[in-house]
C-alpha cells in the first residue's frame, strides 16, 4: 500500500469501527451527566439494530434510498422506548442503576431474537437488508486536494455526523439551560430540587436521550456493517461505548475522541499488517494490540477520570 492508500484506509476503517461507538457513548454521556449510570447501552444498541433492520426490510420499497436514514431514526426511537425501562426502574422504582442496566443487556438480545423468530417464521436472524447505508463522498469537502481524498471521499457520512453531534452535544450540555439543569441533577440533585428543577423529569430526559443515541448507534451497526440483525450484530460494542464515555471523562467531545481512538487502534492493527517491517509479526500481536494500547494510553497518559458526583445515586424526593 502506498502512503495515500494507507491514510485513506486508516480514516475509513477508523470510522467504521468508531461510528456506532460515537453515538452510543454520547448517549451514555447524557445519561450519566444526568446522574443515571447506564451499563445498559449494549442492550439499547441491540434494540436499535433490530428495530432498524425490521423497518428497513419492511419498507425499503416504499422509501427507497432514504430507507437507511429513516431506519436510523426508527432505531433511535425504539432505543428511546426501550430505555424507558431503565428510566422507570432507576428514577421511580429506586433500582440500583447497574442492576437495571444489566436487565437491559439481558432482555434486549433475548427479546430481539425472540421477536425475529416470531416475525420471520422461526428464523433466528433477519434477511439481508436491501438498502444499506454505504459510503459516499461528502460534497465540496471531498474536492479539497489530498485532504478531501483522505478524509471525505468514500467515507461513512454518519461517522462525520457523529463527530459534529459530539460538538453539538457539548454545546447543549454546557451552553443551554437544559444542559445546565441536566448536569445539575447529575451533580447534586438535592440542590437542583431546592431550586425548583424537576429532578425526575431531567433524569428521564437524560436516560431517554441515551436511549435515542444508543438506538442510533445500534442501527448504524446493522444498517452500515452487518446489513441484517443477528445475535452477534451487537457483540460488546455497548461496553466499548461505555469505556469510551469513561475514557472521555464524561465529556461528549472526549467520548467522541475516545471512540475514534478505539477505532484508530483497531485500524492500526489492521493496517499494520500492510506495513512491511511489522507485517511479519505474529497475528496475535495485532489482535491484542488495540486493547493493550487502550490500557496503556489510559493508564499513563489520560489518568483519572471522575464521574459526575451524584452518578448512580438514587434521588428520593421527600414531601
Amino acid at each position: 500500500m502506498n502512503t495515500m492508500t494507507i491514510l485513506m484506509t486508516i480514516v475509513s476503517t477508523t470510522l467504521i469501527y468508531a461510528s456506532p461507538l460515537i453515538f452510543t457513548s454520547l448517549g451514555g454521556t447524557f445519561s450519566e451527566r444526568g446522574g443515571i449510570v447506564n451499563v445498559g447501552l449494549e442492550g439499547i444498541m441491540v434494540i436499535g439494530a433490530f428495530a432498524s433492520t425490521v423497518f428497513s426490510i419492511s419498507f425499503n420499497e416504499t422509501f427507497g434510498a432514504a430507507t437507511p436514514w429513516l431506519a436510523l431514526i426508527v432505531g433511535g426511537i425504539c432505543g428511546l422506548l426501550f430505555s424507558i425501562v431503565h428510566a422507570v426502574a432507576t428514577v421511580n422504582l429506586r433500582a440500583n442503576h447497574i442492576i437495571s442496566g444489566t436487565v437491559l443487556n439481558m432482555l434486549a438480545p433475548a427479546a430481539a431474537v425472540f421477536l425475529t423468530k416470531v416475525i420471520y417464521d422461526g428464523k433466528g436472524q433477519t434477511p439481508i437488508i436491501q438498502q444499506n447505508m454505504s459510503t459516499t463522498d461528502i460534497p465540496l469537502l471531498s474536492k479539497i486536494p489530498v485532504i478531501g481524498d483522505i478524509f471525505f471521499s468514500n467515507t461513512l457520512v454518519i461517522g462525520w455526523i457523529g463527530i459534529l453531534l459530539a460538538f453539538a452535544s457539548w454545546w447543549v450540555l454546557y451552553k443551554t439551560r437544559f444542559g445546565l439543569r441536566l448536569r445539575s441533577v447529575g451533580e447534586n440533585p438535592e440542590a437542583a430540587d431546592t431550586l425548583g428543577i424537576s429532578v425526575y423529569k431531567m433524569r428521564y430526559s437524560a436516560v431517554l436521550i441515551s436511549g435515542m443515541l444508543g438506538g442510533i448507534g445500534g442501527a448504524i451497526m446493522s444498517q452500515a456493517i452487518t446489513l441484517n440483525y443477528n445475535v452477534s450484530t451487537i457483540a460488546g460494542q455497548g461496553f466499548m461505548a461505555l469505556a469510551a464515555m469513561i475514557f472521555g471523562k464524561w465529556n461528549p467531545i472526549g467520548a467522541m475522541f475516545a471512540a475514534l481512538f478505539f477505532g484508530f487502534a483497531q485500524s492500526l492493527s489492521i493496517v499494520g499488517a500492510y506495513i512491511p517491517i511489522i507485517s511479519g509479526w505474529n497475528d496475535v500481536v495485532f489482535k491484542v494490540a488495540p486493547y493493550l494500547i487502550t490500557i496503556v494510553v489510559l493508564a499513563f497518559f489520560i489518568g483519572k477520570s471522575t464521574a459526575p458526583k451524584a452518578d448512580g445515586e438514587t434521588f428520593i424526593k421527600s414531601k
Binding site: 433500582a95 447497574i98 444489566t102 438480545p109 461505555l242 469505556a243 475514557f247 496475535v284 491484542v288
Partner: protein, 355 residues
Amino acid sequence: MSKNWKSRLSIPLISILAGFVLGAIIMLCLGYDPIMTYEALFTGAWGDPNSIGETLRQATPLILTGLGFSVATSAGFFNIGGAGQYLVGWLSSIWFVLSFPSLPGVVLITGAIAAGAIAGGIWSGIAGVLRAYLKTNEVITTIMLNYIALYLSNWIVKSFLANGDADYSKSIPQSASLRSPFLMELTNNSTFHYGLFIAIVIAIIMAFVMKKTTVGYEIRSIGLNSDASKYAGMSTKKVIILAMTLSGLLAGIGGAVDGIGNYQNILVLASTPSVGFDGLAVALLAYGNPIGIVFASLLFASLKIGGLNIPVVSNTPSEIVDIVIALIIFFVGASYLFEYISKKMKTNKSKGGKA
C-alpha cells in the same frame, strides 16, 4: 432480626414469581403455551437425575464468577472482567495438567485449581494495580482485558496445547478430572462433577471472610467509605489490589473447575465466555450475599439448562428463558415497586374502612 430475614427472602421470591407470571403473559400474547413451556423448563432442569446433574454442573462456575463479581463490588469496584478472568483460569488449569500429566491426581487437581486461581487473580490484579497506583478506571481495563484474554487464549491453545491442527487442546488425563464414575452413575451420565462442592465450600468461606474477618471488614470499609478507611489507617492501595485480585481469583477458580470438571480440555473460543457476565447477573440477583449467590446460581442454572428442553418439546423460542431471567432481576432491582404497591393497598384499605 427474624423480620429482616423474612423480608430479605420475600423480595427474591416475589420477584421470581413476578418474572414467571410476566413471562407467561408475554407467551400468551404471542400465542405460545406458557404451561407447556414452563413444564418443559422444569422437567428439563429437575425432571430426571441427568438433568439435575447438568443443572448442578451449570451452577458451579456461576457460583464462583458470581462470588468474584461481588467481592469487587463490596470494595466499590465494577469488575466486568469476569469473563476474561474465568477464561485465563480455565486455560491455566488445563495448561498445568497437560504440562505434568503424570503427577498423581490429587496434585494435578490442586495444582490445576491453584493455577486457575493465580491466573485469574493476576488478570484482575492488573486492573487492581492500575486502579490503585494510576487511578485507571477498572471498567475500561477489565473490558479490554477480556478481549486480550480471548485472543491470547485462542493463540496459546492453537500453538501449544492442541493436538496438531485441532481447535481444542488435548484432553486431560482421567486422574485430573473432577468427574467421577460414582457421580456419573448417580446422575445417569451427566457431566456433574465435584466442582460444585468446591464452589459451595468457597461460598461459605467467602461468607465468613466478608463478614467475620479483618480482611472482609477492610474490603467493606473501603467500598463504603474510602476516606474513613484511610483515617482508620487502612492501606487503600493494598485493599484495592487485594479485593480485585481476590475477585479474579474466584472467577479463575470458576474457570479451572469448569475446565477440569466440565470441559476436560480447552477450546478455541468464538467469543468471550458468557459465564463471566452471567456471574454478574447472579451476584446482582443475590444482592452480593455469598450464600444467596449459591441459590441464585441454582436458579439461573435451572433456567439455562431447563431452557434447552423448551425447543425440544415445544415450539416456544428458547429465548423466553432469558427474558424471564431478565424480568426476575428487574423485579429484584426494582423491589421498591412491591413496597409501593403494598403501601398503596394498605392506604386504600384504610380509606375503604373509613368510608
